[in-house]
């Protein structure tokens, strides 16, 4: 019997047992769909993370201060101070910008519109370069604004829209932030979520304004002029290692500490990517295991049904042998049936997996990215499962003694 004929015979046999065939396939369908959906989910997560990291701005260095808490009423000692920002900017070569953040949460009003608990980010003019932000209207605040503690603000796109709607131009308007009136000098272009922060729903002011107007006096007394984190954007043509070394030496000198007992820590974007990748890596291998196990369970289902089928069709096997089927013909026939179950199951599983990934993306609140290679992978896994688990029943069928098989009830 040639291959096309074998396929036809296998198809007929599966078709004449429709519901059983579909139920048997279900295991493979679920297994394959699981592989695709899980890889899609982990790829989605990965894509979100990598976008977040790249969205932070390119070639970033993060300097974190480690401070020692002071006694009651005493300022904390050690760690980064605001003046470090200026010192780095002036004393380190090969950098695009140095930025610092001090945020607070305020109610913002304009006319009759009032927005509660809006993050107000106190920062420096370098912020746009470090965070890779674009200006849509007006300008970002300047060094002069910062030095003179000018009461100016730059709005995130969503905030501007909510405060002023379509009709009014935000630039030049005065808004009330907390108890302070600030003049809007610019509006940012859409940026969206990066690393869990929505840049469109924040406003940006000179950090000196935050220190002067929005820090509670209690907090200010404890913190002094300390800052938690300084961001440094390294120039494209500069050597990252060299810049880090410069910063380390500068800060150690300023803080009068040795590098072994430094009161600050320097991390690069690469360090953060590495941490994130190892997290997604273990997440992904967990998912791969779960999906793999479900495929194997599907395969065992196929083997089980094929064994039942061999027993049920013993007489058919005997008759085929009597009219001239060689053991190889019988083996091929049952192998093709198992393979067909797993491949049809695999195809349906691919549809279910791609569809399921889409639904997760649209309605499940989980970002998914279907990877074409995961479709190939799961399809070939299904084929492998079919051959592997179909082999034993097929071998058993081919080894039946025609005399015994023909007498089987």
């Amino acid at each position: 019997m040639n291959f096309t004929e074998t396929i036809k015979v296998a198809w007929k046999s599966l078709y004449s047992n429709k519901s059983r065939s579909v139920l048997t396939m279900l295991g493979v369908i679920i297994g394959v769909a699981a592989v695709i959906v899980m890889i899609a989910i982990s790829s989605g997560t990965e894509a979100t993370i990598s976008e977040a990291i790249h969205g932070l701005g390119s070639n970033l260095i993060f300097i974190t201060g480690s401070m020692t808490r002071g006694g009651p009423g005493q300022p904390a000692s050690g760690g980064l101070v605001y003046d470090d920002v200026a010192a780095i900017r002036e004393g380190v070569s090969g950098i695009n910008g140095v930025s610092v953040e001090q945020s607070t949460s305020q109610t913002i009003k304009f006319g009759s519109v009032s927005l509660e608990s809006i993050p107000v980010i106190g920062t420096t003019p370098d912020y746009t370069a470090v965070r890779d932000l674009q200006i849509a209207e007006g300008r970002f605040f300047t060094e002069t604004d910062l030095d003179r503690t000018q009461k100016v603000a730059v709005l995130g796109a969503t905030i501007a829209e909510e405060l002023f709607g379509e009709d009014e131009l935000p630039v030049g308007q005065k808004i009330t932030v907390g108890d302070t009136k600030l003049t809007v000098v610019g509006v940012l272009a859409d940026k969206g979520y990066v690393s869990g922060t929505n840049y469109d729903e924040q406003i940006y002011v000179p950090i000196s304004v935050v220190f002067q107007k929005f820090m509670p006096s209690m907090f200010a007394r404890v913190m002094g002029d300390q800052v938690r984190m300084i961001f440094v954007s390294v120039a494209d043509d500069a050597n990252m290692e060299n810049v880090i070394l410069q910063i380390e030496l500068l800060l150690a000198q300023r803080h009068e500490v040795t590098l072994d007992s430094a009161d600050f820590m320097i991390q690069t974007q690469a360090d953060i990517i590495e941490t994130q990748e190892s997290t997604t890596e273990s997440f992904r291998s967990l998912l791969a295991w779960v999906a793999g196990v479900s495929l194997i369970v599907g395969g065992i289902g196929i083997m089980n049904i094929m064994l039942v089928s061999v027993t049920e069709r013993t007489r058919e096997i005997g008759l085929r042998q009597a009219v001239g089927a060689a053991p190889g013909d019988i083996r091929l026939q049952f192998l093709v049936e198992a393979l067909m179950l797993s491949l049809i199951g695999g195809l349906l599983g691919i549809l279910a997996g791609v569809g399921g990934s889409y639904l997760f993306d649209q309605f499940g609140g989980m970002r998914t990215v279907v990877i074409p290679s995961s479709i190939l992978l799961s399809f070939f896994s299904a084929a492998a499962v079919g051959i592997f688990f179909g082999y034993l029943p097929a071998k058993r069928a081919s080894e039946l003694d025609p005399i015994v098989a023909l007498r089987h009830d």
Binding site: M1, K12, L319, R320, V323, G324, A326, D329, L406
Partner: protein, 256 residues
Amino acid sequence: MSDRIIIKTENIQKIYGMGDIQVAALNGVSLNIKEGEFVAIMGPSGSGKSTLMNILGCLDRPTEGRYYLNDEDVSDLSKEALAAIRNRELGFIFQSYNLLPKIDAMENVILPMMYQREGKFAASQREERALAALESVGLANRAHHLPKELSGGQQQRVAIARALINDPVLVLADEPTGNLDSKSSIEIMDLLHELHDRGRTIVMVTHEPEIAEHTQRVIHILDGRVDKDYKNGYRHGKLSTHETSKTEEAVESAAD
């Protein structure tokens, strides 16, 4: 009948079991069956006639002795080679018909052609041949019926068409009328006679003496040996013309 020998066995033995406990199902059977003979093999159950039939049908191999089928020594062939011999040289008719239940009469008849090694026919030719074979057993109009839609006699006729489709040198019938009522039995025996008249070599196992009477030669097997081997009163022609047939009498009385 020619003088050409289709079946030649030399001192065939079939021994089951291993170690000390050995049972000889066949204990030295030597036979010659010529082309065109119609032979009945008889014997009580346990006599070894089924074992002999299995060996003659290349479903089993003798432990000792030689078996020449159509001048070819098939005693020691592999399973694959035996399958090819069964496909090319043999046609089987079983007591329980053994049609595949889920395919129609025509597809059942086509089945042996699917396993042909050489000279395979194209799909359209196979259908033509199957239809012709069904026509020769009077079932051309039932070609697309499933086995369960056919009577026992009709199913056995489909099985005969299947047995003949690859033009075998030997037709082996194992109790072909065992599951049939007397009327259908007569139809089947008539059909076998017709095949014989056209020159087929037929070996039939039966335990019904009335059926065996209508062959040319009866071989009695007892305790794994040939007990008697004799020619009997076979005449050409339809079974219904044999006045002595009990089967036929029963049918006649049923017909009245």
